[in-house]
Amino acid sequence: MDKVKLNKYFERSLWVFHLNTGSCNGCDIEIVASLTPRYDLERFGIKLVGSPKHADVLLVTGPVTGRMADRVKRVYEQTPDPKAVIVVGTCGTSGGVFYNSYNLKGSVDKVIPVDVYVPGCPARPEAIINGVLQAWIKLEKLRESMKAAPAK
């Protein structure tokens, strides 16, 4: 990615809401690792927030359990537009080892639309950072299209 393009995408901070829909916490630990001094995502303005109403991006980990499905939908609907959804980990991407389990609704994309998949068990921080960057690019494109045609 050239410098000009990168500057364009770094116009404003990216706020992320992390949602665990049934994860074993392996991916969640890697998300925290990406915020620690070794990777330090916050220096780019990327930070976790406590409410989806403040977020630009939903970062979802884990397969969607039966009891979480309704809540995942609600959290997605409460996130302001434009928004992007990143699924971190194999379980959220495909169900992983829990595929077809009786108590699962399945992968995250069976419940809400997903923009970026970051596979891995757990996904490495480098992969998560790359996934966030891809979501950021998509989000900026969405913002530009919304500016061109503002919602009524």
Binding site: S51, D70, R71, R74, V75, E77, Q78, P80
Partner: protein
């Protein structure tokens, strides 16, 4: 009425008060207008975030004054529960308590001197 009222512990001026309200109100309105205004009304974006749980009805989510003391009452429930049972709402019971307590006090005074 609009003059300066001086007291032993300070002063009161309605003009200063009105000016302060106008300035603080303007700051509040400015900060509020800086907020997100593109949310979709009458959708989930308009409702409070309760960890993804559905918003209970207004009646169901009513918080009464007694909720503030929940921890206090929970910690002292050994004391409050029997006390609550004593409050039957029956005037005969309350009269009975007055008689019993009066007798106890009279005995204490009589025996103790």
């Amino acid at each position: 009425m609009l003059g300066l009222l001086e007291t032993g512990s300070g002063f009161w001026s309605s003009i200063i008060w009105i000016v302060a309200v106008l300035i603080i109100g303007s700051i509040v309105i400015y900060i509020r207008n800086k907020g997100e205004d593109s949310y979709k009304k009458n959708t989930e974006q308009d409702k409070p975030f309760i960890s993804g749980n559905p918003e209970p009805s207004k009646e169901g989510s009513h918080i009464s004054a007694s909720h503030i003391y929940w921890g206090f009452k929970e910690a002292l429930k050994g004391y409050y529960n029997p006390l609550g049972k004593m409050h039957t709402g029956n005037i005969n019971d309350y009269s009975g308590w007055i008689v019993i307590v009066t007798v106890i006090i009279l005995i204490m005074v009589g025996v103790g001197g």
